[in-house]
Every structure is written in C-alpha cells, then in structure tokens.
Symmetry: C2
C-alpha cells in the first residue's frame, strides 16, 4: 500500500485513532503490533505482544558478548528447559528455530518414508525432498484431526525406518488430534517408527481436555521426539530458537549431525529471561483467547464457516479466489494467508491484539458487502 | 579460576591497572574484550573489538520486530552483499553462520568423497560423517600450505561428485595457500569437482600479494563456492551469520534444502549496519595487525618458533603436553587452544587487543621461566 492510499483508507483512520492520541510518526514506525508500513501481519502465527520485557533487557545487556561464540549463552537455556520438562540436559537438543530441529530429525531418521497429514506444516515434507525420500500425505479427517488409522496403514506397509510427523495442534487448521488416540498408536508401534511430535502451539491448546503433550513417552521411547519453539507463546519468531526433547540416545545421534553453534547468543539470553518471566505464558494465552473470541464472534455474526481453534490462528471459509482475497486484504493493510491446498476456499488468519481483531472484523463486514466472504 | 585466586594473581593486578582507573565492578562484568569472570578468550578467533556501534544501535532499534519472522530483515542484507561483491542477489545464500553454509554444501555436493587438508577447520569433515561420506585428509606441506598436488591426485582417483574444501587462509595454521596455484587447479578441473572455498579470514589476508579471493570464478563456474562470515572481521560470532557466493544454479540447488528462516533478525539488522560502517574493516584489520605484532615480537624475543599469520590468530611451539599448557594458561586467565592433531606441540592463540597481548607476553615470559615454552 502506498503511503497516500494508506491515509485515504479507513484502515489508517482506525490506526490513527488508537489509544486516543493520533501521533503520525509512531503509526509509521514498526512496533511488535504492526510492521513499519502500518500493515498488520496475520499470516505467520506470530505473537503480537512482542518479546518479553525481560528478554529486551537481556538482549541489551548481552550486546557486549555478541562478538563471542554462543556456547556459554546456550548452556543455561538447556538446563532451564531440562528443569521445566523434568528431564536431563542430555534429553534436550537446541535448534535454529524448531524448523531446523525438524530438518535434522527428518534427515537422520526418515530413511524409508515420511508420513504426514495433509494439509499440515509444509517444512517437514520440504526437508525430505532433496534426499529423494518418499513422502506420503494422508488427508485430514472430516473433523480436521489427523487420520491416524490411514497414517498407520501407510506405516505398516513400509519396511525400515519410517517417520510420522504429527503437528498437534495442526498448522494450518488449528485443530487438535486426540492425544489418547496418539498414545494408543505409540504404545503399539515398533521401534523403527519415529514419531516427530510438533508441539509448537502446545500452550494455546492446554485448555483442551483431549489434548496433552507426548513428553511422557520420551524417557523410555527413543522413537518419540517432542519439538517445541520459542517463536509462538514466547514471541521470539525473529530470533530463531526451538528444541527437541527426546531420549538421550536419539538426541546424541542427531547432535552428531547438528550444525555447530546453531543457536545465537541473543536468542539464548532472551530465552532464558523469558523462561524466568513467570507471567509470560499466561499473558500470551489470555490475550490470544480474547483476540480469538473477537474474531470468532465476528465470523459467527456474519455466518462465516470457521474451524475450531486451539492455537493463535484459525481458518475460515471465503467466497471466490483465495489469491484475490489475500490481495484485497493486503490493500486494506492486513497480511493474511497463505494458500494451503487443498483447502483453497479457506483463509488462515493469525490473531493480532484484540483491538486489532475488532478492526479486522470491520474489514470482514466490508468484505461481506462485496461478497468476498 | 575462583574469584579469590583471581585477585591474588598478577593477571588481576594487570587488569585492574588498565586505563589508569581500577574500578572493580567493570572488571568483573563482561565486555567485548573479556568474559564475565575476567578471563580473556584467545581460543575462538573472535574479534576483541566487539560488534560495530552501528550494529548495537540497529539491534536496539530492532527489538520491536523480534517477534516477527526475519524474512524482511534478511532481504536488504542479501542485496547489500550482492552489491559488495558485484553479483546478483540470486548468487548469495545466507546461513546461520558460515558453518551451516558449509554443512549444506557438503550434504548436497559431496556425494562421493570430501577432500580436505590436515589440519584444517574441523566442522566440514564432521558434516560428512553422518552421511557415511568418505573424507580424505591430506597433510599440509612443510610450509603449511594446502598440498594441492596430493589433493588433486585423490580427486582424480575418485569418480562422481567430489568436493574439495580449501580453507584459505587455513585455520588453525593461519597460513595462506597460493591463489595462483588454486586458480590453476580450478581452471583444469571437471564440472563435478566442487571447490568449497572458505574465506572466513579473507580481509586479514588481503595484504598478502599471493592471496586473492576465488570470487572471480563464480559467474561462469557452478562448481566454485566462496564462503564468508560475519563472525570474524565484523565481530559477530555470537549472532550467527555467514553466506555463500556462487553460481545461481548452485545457490538454487542448495537453497532448496536450506532450513527455513535460517538467519535471525538481529544478525540481519546488525549485518546491514556493519556493512554500512565504512571504517569497520579497516579498524579491525589495524587493531589485529598491532596485536599480532606485539605477540610476534614477544615470541621472537623468547625465540619461540611460530608460524606466519595472515589471520587473527597464530600457532606457536610449546614445550611439554598441550593439554597441560592449555590448563596452565586457563589458570592465568587466558583461554587458548584447542588441540589440532597432528600439531600437538603447537598452540593456537587468537589475537586480543594489543594491550591484552602485551599482558599475554608477560605470561609467556613467566611460562619460559617454568620451561613451558
């Protein structure tokens, strides 16, 4: 959006009215809430609160050691995570975002086949491709849970090390797959079936009684890997920090192929400060729940079909072409999407702050008047 | 070193006298120059000047976007590097430190054999191991240059895609291999011999008339990959940013297996600011040259054999066991080493600030009195 168009839009008027004081420069500089051009990104499932104030302080205090390799900054994060999850430091593998963690496990363990849902988070399948590893995508069930029965059929027909990727809650659908049903499969699976459990949105889903972590399998099952990230509930997407929790034998094997010094100093000091910020998770969950409620109410009011959300985003039905929809949203200052085939009549929206979702609801009402939703 | 021992050591006395004002708290907090415990790390070839003041400002200004994925921060760095090297953005591949860049190229191109010098930077060989890729280590020549003749013999006996890793100047020896000789091999090599040219210490070596970059081969030779880093001359080791410059076909193939969002936001904003700090490279080179001179004079005064250095570190002869030597240095507040077999009667020392090297020279004189050097 050009600056001129920006100020002629109702979007800009809404922005300028925020907080009672309309100060132009602050509107046009970036904040955790919006990008420098004033647009709001609802396309990457980021945390609109920004990083923890404690993390900001830790980063500034850490400037003097940015010229030093980050090993000393990483060790206390590993210790803190081990304590948080009730495991030993040797059960933790840090990565440059959880995506690098996923990449390492796919490279090492998915030697015969990778089985994923469809649609699901795309990166994992992408990491298999360069190694000529077959990927079987199993469509989600009608309730948007993983079709574990069909996934198990595929696995049972494979011979040799096979990896199952379960993103729970699932991206992009925001839906939960029954943890009891997953437990049942893990309990009966042979040792060479690896379960890569992506729990990037764990904290948002804790309220769901059918959902729990796969962490309990880790001590005795080298084939179960739980992946978490600092990008979502901790708001650190730009800083790239994720980790796996797994059996020490599994961590040891993957550690041997890990890129050296893969976690950066600022991510480490910010993560440690964030883990010590007791109110952070609750604050993020609370703001997210309020934003979700605002959006769900607007969608219900307009009778727009939506999927239930146990994350910081949701999918809803649109009318017409998804690419045009994404472009029209962008014209109004909202970055939404991307396409998640085969669900091309649905759009994925990440939750901004509740007040921004209220403004987004206005855009939805405007879109209804044009027949876009 | 315990705090008590620290204050009883001549090392602490030296520190406290620095700059004329002995302020205790500042001595015991970390600075770019030393770690929080007061020790000085001379073991990782880091830049003792710390990051650029412009980079510090960019990081603080970038705090508000740390919750956003770093794609928008990365793009201008790619553009700036392309401009710096006279190539197109599609010729640049960014990585989480140059070590990740090395890892990606080894994984994709070294399908039959990896050929390296010995000793050389260890990471590259390590990345081949998990893929059961044979690595042939060819001893350095008597002048510590790469033995290109013997390396070529190994390559010529291999069939299929082979990778040659040339670290120039070489880590850990700090020595240069003739660029003319390398050029001669590249000019005659078949397409499936890949040259991974690690130029991590390029700026320090520019003064050597026998040394130049392999960048000139990139436009027409998809088998030549030049790797650079922000960890050394730019002082950003903790921030993890490196890159490859190569033919667009080569970059495209490796980009397909790259970990998603692999460069972090703060590294990107700091890198851009550092590239715009015109005095940074000259400042780093100048301070490094003065520090090197102080250390070389001390070694020569003590008649300790040393290798010539075209980097920010050097190797010198020791007496006795290397592990004991490293431990004794640590007791005196200096972190040196690590072992680089087979050169176990040599120690590698990174250059700190000139005034710290003068203090280090005192330790060397003390070591001479004990027969350690």
């Amino acid at each position: 959006m050009e600056r001129r168009d920006f100020f002629q839009s109702g979007f800009a008027a809404g922005l300028l009215g925020l907080g009672g004081t309309a100060v132009l420069p602050s509107v046009l500089s970036a904040s955790p809430r919006r990008l420098a051009d004033g647009s709001v990104r609802l396309s990457s499932n980021e945390n609109p609160l920004g990083i923890s104030p404690a993390a900001r302080t830790a980063i500034v205090e850490g400037l003097d050691l940015a010229n030093r390799y980050p090993g000393a900054s990483k060790a206390p994060v590993v210790d803190a995570l081990a304590a948080k999850h009730g495991v030993a430091p040797k059960n933790i593998l840090m990565g440059n975002g959880s995506t690098e963690v996923n990449q390492m496990f796919v490279q090492l363990f998915a030697r015969v086949r990778l089985v994923t849902a469809h649609p699901t988070y795309e990166d994992v399948g992408r990491y298999a491709a360069p190694f000529a590893l077959p990927v079987t995508q199993v469509p989600l069930r009608a309730d948007y849970s993983h079709d574990l029965d069909r996934m198990k059929e595929v696995v049972d027909r494979s011979s040799g090390p096979t990896m199952v990727y379960i993103c729970n809650p699932n991206n992009p659908t925001a839906t939960v797959t029954s943890s009891a049903e997953i437990d049942s499969w893990i309990a009966s699976a042979p040792d060479n079936v690896y379960f890569l459990m992506d729990e990037a949105y764990y904290e948002y889903a804790e309220e769901d009684p059918s959902y729990w972590s796969a962490l309990k399998w880790v001590p005795d099952n080298p084939n179960v890997i739980v992946v978490r990230t600092f990008s979502k509930i901790f708001g650190m997407a730009g800083m790239r920090l994720g980790y796996a929790v797994a059996h020490e034998d599994t961590i040891g094997r993957v550690g041997a192929i890990a890129s050296y010094n893969n976690t950066n100093h600022f991510a480490c000091v910010a993560a440690l400060a964030s883990l010590q910020d007791d109110a952070l998770v609750e604050r993020s969950v609370d703001v997210n729940a309020r934003a979700r409620s605002v959006l769900e109410d607007a969608l219900d009011e307009l009778d727009i079909e939506r999927l239930p959300s146990r994350t910081n985003f949701l999918m809803h039905r649109i009318q017409g072409d998804l690419r045009s929809y994404i472009d029209r949203m962008k014209e109004r200052g909202w970055l939404v999407g991307r396409p998640f085939p085969p669900m091309l009549s649905y759009n994925r929206v990440s939750f901004a702050l509740p007040e921004d979702m209220a403004r987004f609801a206005e855009t939805l009402r405007d879109f209804r008047s044009h027949g876009y939703v």
